[in-house]
Symmetry: D2
Subunit: 137 residues, 4 copies
């Protein structure tokens, strides 16, 4: 996994919601994937790539692989920021590198590398054929 | 809300999953709606009413109102059973009365009354026009 | 349920996150309870009543009853605001009346009435014995 | 990641619940982590290692790293089985290799490799000091 840098294409701030914590009093491991996804979708939407609208057009953006390193635990009351960089890997795959930093300390809480693909009629499609992606790649 | 009886149209057994518990160590209040929904959909499927398939045909079964009384708290390791009765309320509404009992004690944990409606093209539709419902109502 | 008014004790703005939508393309009915809870807890925290901290002190705020009327469906991309009023009902119960309005239209999406109680050592406790509540009630 | 074999230490069967599907009509990527966790905890409980009870004793089992490969999409109505193998990696880390196969076809849906650690008083602890683990490792 790449080392994180000081340069990101997008970032989004969150607060932990109490229902996201499990019986250990920390945010459940699966919820981090929710945070990562919401940040990716908001980033894409800022580039006029609408995950929900694409689905109605028969194009599904799906995840092929995800790796997450958990460094610190988020808990009730915590604020944090999720940062993302995206780049293509060949004509069919997009890679999202995402980082969660707590606030105001800016310590690394978790990082992920997500491999996404576009699917149309059940088959992988070239990303530059998806409206909006060509400008990103 | 009706008193619960000894006669139910359907029942489904569950175990609490640890991720469903929140920082108080008990199942979060919203998760009970997941349990109730999964029981309703499994009940309807047993009557050949397929929630997901109806959506692809342009018919959405949605909830207009829900009331829940929480009597006991479910926690890690608990097993329980969800029981359901359904009946029509006029031509447009179906009522689900559902009860959660813990196991093996059979004590009442929660009960709900859910009002459901069918929507087609954004408008309420008569339930007996939905394939499978006429036999139920 | 009371009619909603123009006066609220607290409000919090949200955006729908795509993972909160179910296969019908609308926010799942249980997720509204997440929105309502997060608004209540943020409201209480603004009054120095900390849900998570109370738990570590042996006091659990739990829900005894909830009623929700669903008026409109939230979907991907929607923004909305949750407003809340709270008042006591006798010495043991607090009532939260909450309303979701979509943005920017301010149409009523859903409303709820939540009955909360405080529990210590498994028994209901007087709310004015909970630090922070006496100023609210 | 290891190739999956025909030999597993534990398996648990599930059905997709409709609320686990997102607006694409498939199970959301984060929900797979719920399936994996519930299978791990049920496996550990079968060995008398109780995730919730350990927390009350001041020991938290947490995830340091997770890798997931998504091969096929689960959707409404699908049944599947989650299989797990666990082995130690040094004195501090346990590795869970988990596989989801759909039913009745037994096709591989997803696989994960999860690195877990035990934490006591905020510090990593040797796994063989946790009651129940010594027999497993």
């Amino acid at each position: 996994m790449h080392l994180f840098t000081d340069s990101y294409q997008f970032e989004l701030e969150f607060s932990v919601r109490d229902y996201e914590c499990d019986l250990q009093g920390i945010v459940n491991n699966a919820v981090y994937l929710n945070y990562f996804e919401h940040t990716r979708h908001t980033f894409l939407l800022s580039k006029n790539i609408d995950f929900a609208k694409l689905h109605t057009e028969g194009i599904d953006l799906i995840i092929a692989r995800i790796e997450v390193d958990y460094k610190l635990s988020l808990k009730s009351g915590d604020r944090f920021i999720v940062r993302v960089n995206m780049f293509p890997e060949g004509p069919l795959r997009m890679i999202f590198e995402q980082y969660i930093f707590n606030l105001p300390d800016q310590k690394l809480v978790a990082q992920t590398r997500v491999t996404g693909v576009g699917i149309k009629n059940g088959r992988p499609m070239k990303l530059d054929a998806i409206h909006g992606f060509s400008g990103l790649l």
